[in-house]
Symmetry: C2
């Protein structure tokens, strides 16, 4: 059927779908961060012309989708299915954001792991021949997320050092079969920014995550809650695909941050692997630790998505990295579950990204 | 590749996956309704031994999954991926409900259309050869939904006549390739209840819905908000598959209820089709209009799911109906979007269910 089932949770695609284009739309703080110059569109006031944080987040999603389609020179009508999600209750940022595109859609929720979930399902659909192009999109917004999960910004509540700073941003990805006439020699060495469609990036396989719960209950320390799920997915990926850390140039989690990241390194070490020297976390990459005061680092559905679109994929496109395990991580909680004393389980999906000539 | 792309939004599976088993778990009011005797498990007090409505909903999901697996004689470890969702913010009923099963999972959100979304993705995954068995599960709970979307039950708020009554229930479905040794002659005519696995039900195709927004803003009249989406999906299904209403024994929406259902019949008539005599709505089927005082009818992620599991699938299994278009409908809103004055767009996914000998 054109794909290979590996182990308990993984698939390897015999005809690996490509990520044809990617787009990132971010807010002000993200623009001021280390990746600032790499994003496609930066908002001045985080409102993007809208009246509310929620509308602003929807606007970001729509803009990211339109940009990604534009780069790939694909019309919305050519996209067979859209896979999208966000952090808000009832995924409202996505519903309102992608509505105007009129693409048949699957709404997703995987907390901050949703970009991995969307890419996995988009790749599965392309690899199965269900359509030429799929769109994957996720977003988060600092203002709407603080309102949703913690306190309205006007309260000026103090945040503990283990807390994350929700990224204001949306990343969109066109997943599809690369045209056979794509330049096979990669002859654009000098021009591999994100303004052009990608020709050399493939989703080679996936490892679908399961829910992992170590019983932690602190919603202000989501890194610790998500680290066990990240470990589970990474180690499962190694076992399912008979690989080890040395088969990857980078292993990149979504938003474990400084607290969760160090826990992950320990957990993985206990399993006999070492990520040292190969490990990155989008939440640690997107903000400057010294000057931007985000405490544990960035987080949110948009964090991994915009870092992938602006920073990771161009390196894969250029061949600087040949194979990356991209592992967006999510903390599965709501204010209701938190207030009722439930624990905060985690989930993480693994996406194997490869450079092909 | 084993499937046929039809039109803009539809797929027909060349090797159609089967629904191997289904299970339904419901609350007290559902037990007292017209389908009461058909459900697998009925709770006495809608709490299912839990302390909160949310925990109760999670318990229902877990029980429904375990029951569906048991009927199919399949262990949780044999299920490759789980597709699940509910109505609560951040899909918490599903996360907490399916956690113990340890099945790699995709969290979904499509409001009350989620059972269609889950069945579509499960069928797509089986048809693509991504695994032998997938699990699809959704739920809703009257208590948790009123708290989430309207008022806590203790307020005893009065509801308008256009409002729905959220079904307390969860339906789970094992989707997979039917074993080749399945009795081809259907030799169990006298014993086709839901206690046995199904042998004659296939998911022949799907029509993935797009978001349809007629600008309605009344969250207490969700039937009217969802009817345009149901029309769009039904008419698209006819066009994509070159069919008309007469190709289906029944066309069954999820929870349009009495208000939305009559709007749907008008909208479809304007497109040149007539559903008269073939139309059912799970929200009108699950409660008795005269005696149960549910106003517009039942609704919720669980409404379509438990009606499918207990009432629709057994009729398909027996061959009483040969082909059914099952169209769960969702109203995409949150209390935040509603309070901010946003409209309530709808979405509906079409699942073509067939009896095969």
């Amino acid at each position: 059927m054109g794909q290979i089932i590996k182990g308990r949770q993984s698939l390897i695609f015999e005809h690996a779908p490509g990520i044809i284009s990617a787009a990132s739309v971010v807010g002000n703080k993200e623009t001021e961060g280390p990746l600032g110059k790499l994003f496609d569109m930066c908002g001045q006031d985080d409102l993007f012309g809208a009246r509310t944080w929620e509308e602003a987040e929807s606007t970001m999603q729509k803009e990211a989708c339109v940009l990604a389609l534009g780069k790939a020179h694909i019309r919305a009508e050519e996209v067979r299915y859209l896979f999208g999600g966000d952090l808000l209750r009832q995924g409202i940022a996505t519903s309102m954001g992608v509505e105007a595109l009129r693409i048949p859609m699957f709404g997703l929720y995987g907390a901050c792991s949703t970009s991995g979930e969307a890419l996995a399902l988009a790749a599965m659909s392309v690899a199965a021949g269900y359509g030429d192009y799929m769109l994957a999109v996720t977003s988060s917004h600092f203002g709407s997320a603080e309102k949703e999960f913690r306190f309205p910004l006007g309260y000026a509540s103090q945040r503990p050092l283990s807390a994350h700073w929700t990224v204001t941003g949306s990343g969109a990805f066109v997943v599809g079969r690369q045209r056979d006439d794509a330049d096979p020699a990669g002859g654009e060495e000098g021009d591999t920014g994100t303004s052009l469609p990608f020709r050399h990036v493939r989703i080679a396989g996936i490892t679908v995550g399961r829910i992992v719960d170590y019983g932690l209950k602190d919603s202000q320390n989501m890194g610790a809650c998500m680290a066990p799920a990240a470990m589970d997915t990474i180690v499962t990926n190694f076992e399912d695909m008979a690989r080890s850390e040395s088969d990857y140039d980078r292993i990149i989690t979504g938003d474990l941050g400084y607290v969760g990241g160090s826990i992950l390194l320990d957990l993985v070490k206990n399993k006999g692997y070492s990520l040292q020297g190969r490990y990155l976390d989008c939440g640690m990459t997107i903000f400057d630790r010294e000057t931007q005061d985000t405490h544990a680092g960035g987080s949110g559905c948009g964090c991994a998505a915009v870092t992938l679109a602006s920073f990771i994929l161009p390196k894969l496109e250029k061949g600087e990295w040949k194979r990356v395990l991209f592992v967006p991580t999510g903390a599965l909680m709501s204010t209701v579950s938190y207030n009722e004393g439930a624990s905060v389980p985690g989930i993480a999906h693994g996406i194997v990204l490869e450079h092909v000539e």
